[in-house]
């Protein structure tokens, strides 16, 4: 199995001691970061170094890793997130598989692995960490509390805590890491054509890891995400992260154990009520972080996004990793947004089934083995963009002034103040928006977006033309398109079609969706098959949506209000933004800024002209406006369908389990009858988001019951929202003071 651990033949290179630590041997000349960097080149094997050398001159050198964030003043309204609207420079990519194809995987797996470590670190074995967690004041406090409350001896609870730790704790072993390095090399080479990484990002990460505790925040589209990230860090000789992964992995016994040894740690998906679990878990994460044992990695989205659209962030883990800074147990913490984009997502069809309500197979080792047949397939290129490390201290400066932790011992569990909760939420959104900014968009994403507007069939040449047009628009909107320089549009579209032949194909000069078996079969089955194809295709279009959402909502608002008055358009925009607040990622509380951004981008592409009071579409703008609103039509229509269902059919109180099949049937019937073409309304993701939107708009109430949540809707309120959609009544929103 795992190859034995080899001893490192040469002493690990170290960066020169930085002078920033006055307590250690006094001071000296500042060592500029760049120089420090030169002290230890980022290494990825010799071939890569040669490659880098060749291109060295032409490459941009990145500015030193300073926090990306401008400190926000005050509370919301003057947000710490402000998007740069001018085109930004991005790093270039390197293919890490290129070298894997050239040299021995075994040697690679056995290479000298001596990651740089956090400056203040004293190395520690996993077991020592576990016992430190168990003995920590934090955990001991909760153990004593529980013992008192339950009248049990604290020994018993202590044991329970130990079990939790065992279930959870990582057990990183170099052997397992090497085993993974070896197997993953093999597997990745099979699956993917290229795995592209921005090396400057890795370089920045290397510095960040030495300077302060680091939290890696990758986007989550696939199980491949965290395997790939660990693989990447190993490749660049960086410390492997400990990963907060969902506990359903534990179903896969062997793989689960292997993952654990490779540094994953596991967290129950829901442990709301279990104080002991929470205490142990939180302390474990914080212990890793405070002492800088390893970067902590988790997914802000909480779970894999089945739609390839960024999910609204979860705050629990984020607030745990931020706490050591709030309590000043660490000087700072780096948050590193990482965008992982797949040209073709491994789980794409699985997701589509799942969204349509076909139950998801429980992750089991045998399931994964079956997935082996996937290995014969081609999944194109992965792009991993490691963003600028964001200093939490910089984000917090001016934001968290009062010191809420000064008056209570730091080990006591304490509910974060509202201020802090708001701050955590802002940071979460900011990080997701940064992920989105650096998410690579492949040509196929553009093709899918065009195609979905031109069903059932589209002329190939026209598709190419439109795709090129959309490329320009996407770039205007700040989208990050990787379009190989030398590739003509035709080839790019063709190669997309080839890679995604399971979704679309070329028939007689026309491109059609690949919904085989639709011709014959019952109506129901036809609808289902068609829905499947559309949802799969939509997964790729979806990758554009967060880039397009602001100008698009302005476009839709223009159409809905049929007015040129800025104020009215803004009110409608703001309404739509609220409705879709779970569907797309908006930084909280900056509706007006989002509106202005949308207008700015539309002006930039000559779609509209604005003055103080009014917005006019230009002549040539109508094409853009209609494209943009059509792009989002599935959501506008889908939400209306779902709302209509709720307004009419929903029972007094219902659970999500009842709601999903109900609304699915409702939409299904409409589709069967041909009363709607909105297949995407079948997506359980959209259904859940729509329900959540109603809760947020106050048209539905969510109550926690013993068996989960139940919902109550207010029919009247929903009807009013529906009326607003139909523009039967003007959108009622408090008018913003000044536009």
């Amino acid at each position: 199995m795992a190859p034995p651990i080899t001893r490192c033949p040469r002493p690990p290179p170290r960066l020169p001691q930085r002078s920033g630590q006055p307590s250690r041997g006094g001071a000296g000349q500042w060592v500029p970061r760049e120089v420090a960097a030169a002290g230890r080149p980022l290494r990825r094997g010799r071939a890569a170094e040669r490659g880098a050398g060749r291109r060295g001159g032409a490459r941009r050198t990145m500015a030193a890793a300073t926090a990306a964030a401008a400190p926000g003043r005050g509370r919301r309204g003057a947000p710490m997130y402000s998007k740069e609207l001018t085109s930004k420079k991005r790093d270039e990519f390197e293919d890490i598989l290129e070298e894997r194809r050239l040299s021995s995987d075994l040697r690679y797996a056995m290479k000298c692995y001596t990651p740089v470590i956090y400056k203040g670190l004293s190395p520690c074995k996993p077991n020592a960490i576990k016992s430190a967690v168990l003995q920590s004041e934090q955990v001991q406090y909760v153990i004593k509390q529980l013992a008192k409350e339950m009248g049990e001896s604290s020994d018993i609870i202590q044991e329970e805590a130990m079990e939790i730790l065992d279930e959870m704790g990582h057990n990183m072993q170099l052997g397992a890491v090497r085993f993974f390095a070896f197997t993953l090399s093999k597997i990745f080479k099979q699956l993917f054509q290229r795995v592209c990484v921005n090396e400057e990002g890795m370089q920045r990460l290397q510095h960040a890891i030495q300077e302060h505790p680091v939290v890696l925040l990758p986007s989550h589209r696939s199980y491949v995400d965290f395997l790939m990230l660990s693989y990447l860090l190993y490749t660049y000789d960086l410390a492997l992260p400990v990963i907060a992964a969902g506990i359903d992995f534990l179903g896969m016994k062997i793989v689960g154990e292997l993952l654990r040894r490779a540094g994953a740690f596991f967290m129950r998906r829901s442990f709301g009520g279990n104080r002991l679990y929470w205490a142990v878990f939180a302390e474990y994460v914080k212990m890793m972080l405070r002492n800088g044992y390893a970067p902590v990695e988790f997914f802000l989205e909480g779970t894999r996004s089945r739609t390839a659209k960024t999910l609204p962030p979860k705050f629990g883990l984020l607030s745990i990793v931020m706490e050591p800074f709030f309590k000043r147990e660490v000087f700072d913490t780096y948050l590193v947004p990482i965008s992982i984009s797949y040209e073709r997502i491994l789980e794409e069809s699985l997701y589509a089934y799942e969204l349509l309500g076909v139950p998801k197979p429980k992750e089991s080792t045998s399931g994964l083995l079956k997935a082996r047949r996937i290995l014969s397939d081609n999944f194109g290129t992965i792009h991993i963009y490691v963003g600028q490390p964001v200093s939490l201290r910089t984000l917090a400066s001016g934001r968290i002034n009062r010191c809420p932790y000064n008056l209570v011992p730091r080990h006591l569990p304490q509910k974060p103040s509202e201020d802090i909760q708001e701050f955590v939420s802002d940071v979460a959104y900011k990080m997701e928006l940064l992920q989105i900014e650096n998410m690579v968009l492949s040509p196929w994403v553009l093709v899918a977006a065009v195609l979905l507007q031109n069903l059932p069939a589209m002329d190939f040449e026209l598709l190419i033309e439109k795709t090129l047009w959309l490329k320009g628009l996407t770039q205007t909107f700040g989208g990050f398109i990787e379009w190989p320089d030398n590739l003509c549009a035709k080839k790019a579209v063709m190669s997309g079609l080839t890679l995604h032949s399971n979704i679309a194909r070329l028939v007689d000069g026309h491109v059609v969706l690949n919904d085989k078996g639709v011709e014959d079969g019952a109506v129901g089955e036809i609808v289902f098959k068609h829905a499947l194809a559309i949802l799969m295709c939509a997964t790729y279009r979806n990758q554009l949506l967060n880039v397009f959402v602001r100008p698009s909502l302005v476009a839709i608002a223009l159409q809905m209000t049929r007015s040129f008055r800025k104020e009215e358009v803004y009110n409608c925009f703001s309404f739509l933004r609220d409705v879709f607040s779970d569907e797309f990622i908006f930084f909280p509380g900056i509706s007006l800024k989002d509106f202005e951004e949308g207008c700015f981008l539309l002006t930039k592409c000559d779609a509209i002209q604005t003055n103080q009071q009014e917005i006019y579409p230009t002549n040539k703008g109508s094409v853009i406006i209609s494209f943009l609103s059509t792009m989002f039509r599935p959501f506008v229509e889908g939400y209306q369908l779902i709302f209509r269902y709720l307004a009419k059919e929903a029972k007094e109180a219902f659970t999500e389990k009842q709601f999903i099949p109900g609304v699915r049937n409702f939409v299904f019937q409409l589709l069967e009858k041909g009363n709607t073409q909105c297949y995407e309304a079948l997506s359980s993701d959209m259904q859940k988001n729509a329900l959540a939107a109603l809760v947020q708009l106050g048209a539905a109430k969510k109550k926690k019951m013993s068996n989960g949540f139940t919902y109550n809707v207010n029919q009247e309120a929903i009807n009013k929202i529906l009326d607003m959609f139909d523009a039967r009544i003007p959108v009622q929103k408090p008018v913003a003071a000044r536009l």
Binding site: S19, G20, Q21, P22, S23, R24, G25, G26, A27, G28, Q29, W30, R328, E329, F331, R402, C403, Y405, N406, P409, R410
Partner: protein
Amino acid sequence: MAAAAEEAAGSGGGGSPSSARRRLRIISGHLRSSPRAPEREALSLSPCKAQGGSTGPASGSIPRKRQELLKWNGWGYNDSKFIFNKKGQAEFTGKRYRLGGMVLPTFKEWMEKTFGASLDHKTTSRATLNVNDVPPSIVKEEFLQDLRATKISYSQDAEDRVFRAHGHCLHEIFILREGMFKRVPDIVVWPVCHEDVVKIVELACKHNLCIIPFGGGTSVSSALECPEEEKRTIVSLDTSQMNRILWIDEKNLTACVEAGIVGQDLENQLAESGFCTGHEPDSMEFSSLGGWVATRASGMKKTIYGNIEDMVIHIKMVTPRGIVEKNCQVPRMSTGPDIHHFIMGSEGTLGVVTEVTIKIRPVPEYQKYGSVVFPNFERGVACLREVAKQRCAPASIRLVDNAQFQFGHALKPQVASIFTSFLDGLKKFYITKFKGFDPNILCVATLLFEGDREKVLQHEKQVYDIATKFGGLAAGEDNGQRGYMLTFVIAYLRDLGLDYYVIGESFETSVPWDRVLDLCRNVKERIARECKEKGVQFAPLSTCRVTQTYDAGACVYFYFAFNYRGISDPIHVYEQIERAAREEILANGGSLSHHHGVGKLRKRWMKESISDVGLGMLRSVKEYVDPNNIFGNKNLL
């Protein structure tokens, strides 16, 4: 310029050989009871009689013409300073201190290495005060007439006024060297007793003047600076001539002392009767009893003797409302909130403290220094925490971090027995005992034990035993003694630094035990970062020590200095960084101040520190006691 109207007799100097010897004793911490040479006669003009019979001739070390004895643009005595001699070696001049006349061979290198400073790059302070730059003295004739009638000595001389326009903050010294204060007192008065003060305050109320009490002038909180916008005549009320011990009560072990007495005189004079107060702030050569009360001072031996609030039995203060005092001198009373606590820390905003009854103790039979080396700062703090837990802290226990340890090292003189022996000892230690101690990480605790011989030795053992548990190794008496010396000469070092583009300052805080390490680390890191951001070319010296232990926490003291070459507005940069450091302290659960006080320097954080209501409580006291803001130095509130 108006000259001093009435010169009191005897403008004598404190620079006699005997006082030099005395200084030496203080610095080395040995307070022996030796007869004082009567240097000055009693002030002939003094109309006051000590109530209980004075314990000897009332005269102090500090003359009215301070500039005759003390530097006008720096710290301490004119004759004592660090210089680089012709060979380019650092040397300490004068005979007052143990270090006097000694050469410090490694200091130059340390300074170059630590600050990137160079002897080639020198700044020079202006040589003398330019009297023409000094804002004119504006005093109404009516007041002067009334004042003359009281026979209280006063001066409108520019030098006298500038000398009382500042304390010892960096920016104040910088202004003296290179600029001029926008506002200085218009007149200096020298009351010699309580009654004089009453008269002055009455006159101030009558003529609507602003009074700023001046004690030893060692303030490090901008407390003595005159508010620029003050339009009224500013009277600097110099208490230095109210410096008698009025009586000593051996039965109750108390002494009643005039508030202007400076620390060294108080201890020396008490020592003549075999007593001491044990209050030894590092500024004790110059700071005054009244100043201590007004700032809530803390002395190095507080573990045995307590801080000023623990020592004071009775305070008499003259306010615009009248005199505030109690009806008895008792150890404790339950009569509502203790009015002493309105006075202590009032920073000259309510009135003038004139007489203080303070606890005294017999001079200890035996004193012993000591030191312990720890493998790192964390272990050292853990040890101090344990010592505090067991409540067995010696008279003083301080833990210096590695940078300060090295700093201390750089001050080792070439000659002088105790130092060489220490050095050799240390070298030997490195080879033998210190194996496994990284000289760039280790840190040192310095100790001072006091009491009767047997108990001291017992106590010493107890503390060393605890230290051993935390990996500490005893490192000799001399090392300890040197540590304490450092704190006395460091103020002189700043003046040297200023000559070579190095500016520095100290600041302090108090913090719960569990946050000590985090606070120290974060504040140092914050300073380093801020320096870098502000364009400081060389990494700063930012170092700390734990100077006091309490049951629930500790006092932490920071030094911070940097080379400002290449920076156009060093003081502004310095202040921004100090401010950031204070923000960091507060965010780490530290206090706004443990003993330096608030003054005007730290006012902006008062509300955050004591809440709106708390601030309102203080304000309402001020409003009642001094409705016309006669004591208008604008400190605190």
